[in-house]
């Protein structure tokens, strides 16, 4: 039995519990956008071909090939898009747009940006959102019954 090993094992267990709590608390939570500035997130997103004027709510998702939850989130949003006329969904491959990724401060995937019809950034979220919360956010901004 190694004393150091036992200590590291205990530290690893505590760290894992803390990380699990953090992930659970934060994953998919929509955070309000900071004060919009010229050349801010909306401009960067429009540079990628996003047209917020086309729908009540536009959700832009950044994904990578090495991201399991991205696929689930994408499928959910595609389903919501087909059932909520006010929702437009745009999928961006983060790897092909690394400049935008840096400008927008995308650190994890999936990262989602929520834009209203006037191009205002309503908020963003990182990690896979829980299905009910995602539906609630979409319904709140597309006027669909929740």
């Amino acid at each position: 039995m190694s004393g150091t090993g036992v200590l590291v094992l205990v530290a690893a267990l505590v760290l894992t519990a803390a990380a699990a709590w953090w992930v659970r608390a934060r994953d998919g939570r929509v955070r309000a956008a900071e004060e919009e500035t010229v050349g801010g997130p909306t401009a960067v997103l429009e540079g990628l071909g996003v047209r917020p004027g086309d729908a009540d709510l536009t959700v832009v998702q950044f994904s990578t090939a090495f991201c399991g939850p991205c696929r689930t989130t994408r499928a959910r949003l595609q389903h919501l898009e087909s059932t909520r006329p006010g929702l437009a969904y745009v999928h961006v491959d983060a790897e092909s747009h690394l400049d935008a990724v840096r400008e927008l401060g995308v650190r994890r995937t999936p990262t989602l940006f929520y834009l209203d019809r006037r191009g205002r950034l309503l908020g963003r979220s990182s990690g896979a959102p829980r299905p009910d919360e995602l539906t609630a956010v979409v319904d709140a901004h597309t006027g669909a019954p929740s």
Binding site: A12, V23, A65, F66, G68, R71, E95, T109
Partner: protein
């Protein structure tokens, strides 16, 4: 790195593998065994290089566990998992080097970090190695394909 997006695996396989990995790494920490963490490094390397189909714990899952569980209901792409195996390999390799080359503290810390990633994956499904992918890509500008 070549990728075939069509390749998918039963989601329960990697979760099972993560539990086995966590147990192995915990035993490594308790015994301070360099050879055991070296074996785990090889397990990671096989998964990363040859694909999950050939990863030892995945084979174990397919032959021993899956037949008792019934058909797979959910599948996930293999590419993120393979990348995560590569990240796991780096930590396990550093851990093995530490233990075997007379730096047991380094060995223990590297093994402990690998344990955090494995246990987090086993318990919550969160894939730390997958999350690191974009972080790595952000600092490495040019695409090499």
């Amino acid at each position: 790195m070549s990728q075939s997006p069509a390749r998918v695996v039963d989601v329960r396989g990697p979760r099972f593998a993560a539990w086995v990995t966590s147990a192995v790494l915990a035993v490594v920490l308790l015994t301070g065994s360099g050879p055991l963490v070296a074996v785990q490094a090889v397990v990671f390397a096989v998964g990363a290089a040859a694909g999950l189909r050939h990863a030892p714990y995945a084979v174990l899952f397919r032959t021993l566990v899956a037949p008792r569980l019934g058909p797979a209901r959910e599948r996930e792409p293999e590419a993120p998992l393979r990348f995560a195996q590569l990240v796991g390999f780096v930590f396990a390799a550093v851990g093995a080097a530490g233990y075997l080359l007379g730096a047991p503290l380094l060995g223990a810390v590297a093994t402990g970090l690998a344990l955090v990633a494995a246990l987090l994956n086993a318990a919550t499904g969160f894939c730390l190695g997958c999350e690191l992918y974009l972080t790595v890509r952000r600092v490495r500008p040019a695409r090499t394909t």
